[in-house]
Symmetry: C2
Subunit: 684 residues, 2 copies
């Protein structure tokens, strides 16, 4: 039960850590060279200056198709008194042919009249006219490329022309990458309860490539001190750099720092950055050895902050430029003075301003890195950024792409993914970016000028009509409601509906308030009203539940049906509340009413796992997760768009997609949609 | 003697040609897909949207190291009345461990007090605290990447986490590349008189790679109609695209267009662009087949205009972005209304403006592409750009690099190459760019604010002093003269000095004016005064001269010593004129006085070839080309720098290099220099 932990990590700022480490290894690092074929040198870095072996042209050469002559012979030629040259006094030449004495000029074919055995010349040629002198382009012995130059296609052409077949380039540093952890499995293995698919090392491998090195990924090592130590010691001998992934924190099985202390010197352990604090920067046998945290976002940020600069140093590659722009932050970002924080953001251009919408901030949210357009960096000495403030964003999509992206903020539906997929395929260099904040959140974003389009499905409880009244109420500017899809909302339950739920009423166990009252009491094993269903729910979920039966305490107290809700402002939440009200159910009777998730798919996943029994969502999400579905109500999922955006090329493309055959075919695949009016524009 | 030519090519504008061709092939092109391993997918383009197979996390997982508890058990825990849990009522968990019912919260290790068999909890845990619910990051079934997405390292990590091992990506188009021409040789072969080293195909191969395709380069084909036809026909069948290099013009052996007319359809022949007019855009067996001109710059521009967009189309890669900036053009550029012109420029930032200095405009000047920082494009409807006008430059170096580059304009010396080589090696991300316009040209550029540094060696004939008086005379602003090197100027002659020249007096054959008078006369075989020397000169030059003896007319008339001069304003020209004056020699007595070259190395190359016998230059250039050298005078080669630039970091770096051990070692290698005062700053 007791395991040793190093609970407290003393951290230092990123810049200080980097400087401290770089100066510790600066004298240890050696830039190695190798000789390679010029034809295989694209993107490599020259090791030293390269000098031409041959001149180009290699000889005085005709620059035109025509005839080679002695310029002096033609000095008085004119239209009225042409000079006539006999065969022996000129030579027909094509472009590139050598010109030798006594010839010292070329006359273009267009400017002569050729008859059998002689030519008539009607304008004088000056000496060296249309002759490319030897070495005009490249002079033997001259420097063609300096050292530290990244070789381009044109350079390869010129090197070969200058007689250079092989060149000395900087050797790419080889970086050993060790995934560690007893719980990790290879991506090819079938995951079991508790398995974590090891993918960071593959990300690193490719980040090494991008930085200019060669990544050498090893098979995972279990959490075993000696095994990790031996592997690192061997690798430090053979490779230019070593990365150890995970085990860099202060957990019970985090051996990395101890291993590195035994093998060499730990320069830094713990950096004031979020995500990415548990970084270890060490030197073993004169080689940089870095321990990176296991959470993918932390791993990524740790790599970019500490591994990339070292690879670039050994590979002699210039620092990569990060394009930056100034953007309005769409919501308040609070951060601690204790660390520098990297907040992933989606960036869009709406009207004439750039807007950055923060994404999930968790260290485990790898998808937020995939979805992000850039980072908003909150410096260590800042407490955060207010909504609407302008901040600098480090982009990792190009500004041009961002400018051609439709910014969609609002309710989530799988059809947004479908549109985002179709768009760049059907419309060159146009993209869709969507952020899911619920229908009301989307309308608020539209009002603040942060989005082009808000997908919404808001029921007006009074009129029973969808969407229109909200737009009329909330906007003064001319708005369009573009029809989207009809879709079915319902209760998603586990496959086979083990709790045999039939509708909203079954969610209401009547134990909601009771559960709260029980909270402080001693556990006494007494069963609540929800026992039957809850008991099944807890033990259900198939194999996963069974596997852990041996090592978790037996179920002592049953709970009601565990519901998982959507966030406030979500159309699905509005609908759920409306339906509860119709049915006369008090939300406090729903166990889990307060547990909020941001998308249909997140709710579906919770229901598919063993953390929840039911949640409201659309049929397509239930289908995607293999859940059963209890239909509740059809609804209209539409798009709110300010009229002023309707004529923008990418917005027009968006509307065209709604009416396209491909879109309708994809809807049919998803199931649960009808789309008769898709793309219809209603001006309000 | 007579060969068939197609003298006139009807050309159309670039944009029209591209549009015409793209629309002709649009329906023929098919984007192919292939399935590859995710681990090998960096930089590939997704063929279609990719959906997650697994959720991540795969189960409800602890987000912290600590203990899993029932939240309800802890509801009333506080510092004053801690809750004590027995072993059966909690579970020690590490980050990532699965959490199962009945546990529904995690308490961080820092927040508990652990004693034998029990823990004390001093704050309540809310349900789902520190638990990452299943699918928090990735939900099985959700779209991870859309189609047409370029895969990054982070994407690879997420794909693997989501259980995706293989993905469908766009197949890279395979492009067959055929060099043609009887005179071309492989780079490995020893060049002979008339040989042209074939290097374009290797440049293309790498340009194909950069555009997103796979270049398949074939061995050169001689100029033979049937051979070219058969090769193209076969390749069109097997490859996605075919490039034929050279033979696209209207010369006597330019078969390409005829071949393509026989095999398929020629859509465009001849484009109004300079360089790069003779382009052929054709379709053979439904495949794009493009004939590109032989001159390297023409070939490059033709490729970028017509091949790159097609590869990007088939490879579904976005158009590459070209960074542009507005720069002042340093000298007048006259262009014809008949074509669009691509002028290569060097770009520098001097003070707060960007300045673009045009480079050599010839189609054969491949080094100008290597040296260029970008293109200034003169549109077809423009007659050119005036000096000082602002024009848009398409960059191919980054703006940041340009901003960190020392702009050197003035007299040429090999030591500038040496400094340019040392700079980026010794100073991170700092560069030197030099343009050779002679000493006076450099000072003029400084005055116009187009350069940071002008290297000069200008003799004041009155005082006998170098450089100082020119700066005092020409500048009002405070100037610094930074001492460079002492170097030796002299007459470069062919190895072994076959004409046995001893000094300037021997250049003066006394036939200069006579030669002019002879220009209009009939060739009569009579020998001039320079016969002895000239005869040797003409027949000299070793093997090259002998090889062509059979196919050129016999020498009929001897000339004087053929001198090759430097351009007006060059310090070497000033020195030469001064020395001629001292010796009482009239320039008209020098045969070749009017023939101007821009650098020491170009003069040296001319003397090394069979086009000239003597030229003035520095010892290092003579050494580099293996020439003999007749010393004329030592001189001071210094750097003029406005005082206001002295504190710029890259200028400081430049001055530091002048005093560095490495620089002095490299000077010793070159020979002919002394550098006692290098880097000494004299404020004027």
């Amino acid at each position: 039960m007791k395991r040793k932990r190093n609970l407290y990590l003393k951290t230092i700022p990123v810049e200080e850590a980097r400087e401290k480490y770089l100066s510790a290894i600066a004298d240890l690092i050696t830039v190695k060279h190798e000789t390679i074929k010029v034809t295989e040198s694209l993107d490599r870095i020259t090791g030293s200056a390269i000098y031409a072996k041959y001149s180009s042209p290699l000889f005085n050469a005709s620059a035109m198709d025509g005839i080679a002559v002695r310029a002096a012979d033609t000095a008085y030629a004119s239209e009225t008194s042409p000079v006539v040259l006999q065969e022996a006094d000129y030579m027909v030449v094509d472009t590139g042919d050598p010109i030798h004495p006594p010839f010292d000029a070329v006359i273009m074919a267009e400017d002569i009249v050729e008859t059998e055995g002689e030519v008539r010349i009607i304008a004088s040629a000056h000496p060296w006219q249309h002759i490319r002198p030897i070495g005009e382009d490249i002079v033997a012995g001259e420097m063609i490329l300096p050292g530290n130059h990244k070789i381009r296609a044109i350079d390869i052409g010129v090197l070969l022309s200058a007689g250079i077949l092989e060149i000395e380039v900087v050797k790419r540093p080889e970086v050993a990458i060790f995934p560690t952890g007893t719980e990790i499995i290879e991506p090819e293995e079938e995951p079991e309860e508790g398995s974590i698919i090891e993918s960071n090392s593959r990300m690193f491998e490719n980040m090494v490539t991008v930085a200019g090195g060669i990544g050498c990924r090893f098979a995972p090592i279990i959490d075993d001190y000696e095994k990790i130590r031996d592997a690192v010691a061997q690798a430090a001998d053979r490779y230019d750099m070593v990365i150890i992934n995970a085990g860099s924190s202060a957990g019970t099985e985090d051996y990395t720092v101890h291993v590195l202390r035994e093998l060499g010197e730990v320069i830094v352990h713990g950096v004031s950055v979020k995500p990415g604090k548990p970084v270890i920067l060490a030197v073993v046998q004169g080689k940089p050895v870095i321990g990176l945290p296991g959470y993918p976002v932390s791993a990524y940020i740790g790599f970019e902050n500490f591994v990339t600069p070292i690879i670039q140093m050994i590979a002699r590659r210039p620092e990569r430029l990060t394009e930056t722009l100034q953007a309005h932050i769409s919501r308040r970002l609070v951060s601690s003075l204790k660390h520098k924080e990297y907040v992933r953001v989606k960036v869009g251009k709406v009207g004439d301003k750039f807007v950055a919408a923060p994404l999930a901030r968790g260290a485990g949210a790898a998808m937020s890195l995939v979805r992000a357009d850039g980072f908003c960096i909150i410096e260590q000495n800042s407490e955060g950024i207010e909504a609407g403030d302008v901040a600098e964003i480090e982009l990792y999509r190009s500004k041009r792409e961002i400018e051609n992206t439709v910014v969609v903020i609002g309710s989530h539906d799988l059809i947004l993914d479908v549109i985002a997929d179709i768009m760049p395929n059907a419309y060159k260099d146009m993209f869709v970016s969507s952020t899911h904040v619920g229908s009301m959140g989307g309308l608020m974003a539209l009002r603040r000028g942060e989005a082009h389009i808000a997908p919404i499905h808001l029921l007006d409880e009074e009129s029973g009509e969808y969407n229109v009244s909200y737009l009329k109420k909330m906007f003064r500017e001319p708005m369009a409601l573009v029809k989207g899809v009809h879709r079915i909302q319902g209760i998603m339950v586990k496959k086979g509906n083990p709790l045999q739920l039939e509708g909203l009423a079954d969610l209401c166990s009547g134990t909601g308030t009771e559960a709260k009252d029980l909270a402080g009491e001693e556990k006494d094993g007494k069963e609540t009203a929800g026992a039957k269903m809850a008991g099944e729910a807890i033990c259900g979920g198939g194999s996963a539940g069974e596997k852990i039966a041996s090592n978790v305490p037996a179920v002592k107290k049953a709970a009601s049906v565990r519901y998982v809700n959507r966030q406030r402002g979500a159309g699905t939440r509005v609908l759920f509340d409306y339906k509860l009200k119709q049915a006369g159910i008090d939300p406090s009777e729903i166990n889990g009413y307060e547990r909020e998730m941001a998308t249909h798919m997140a709710v579906a996943a919770a229901v598919a796992g063993d953390g929840a029994d039911a949640g409201m969502g659309v049929l397509s999400a239930a289908k995607a997760m293999g859940l059963d579905f209890i239909e509740v109500a059809p609804e209209e999922y539409d798009f709110a768009i300010p009229v002023k955006f309707l004529e923008l090329p990418h917005i027009k493309a968006f509307l065209e997609i709604l009416q396209s055959a491909e879109f309708h075919a994809r809807l049919a695949q998803l199931g649960g949609y009808s789309a008769e009016r898709s793309g219809e524009v209603i001006l309000l």
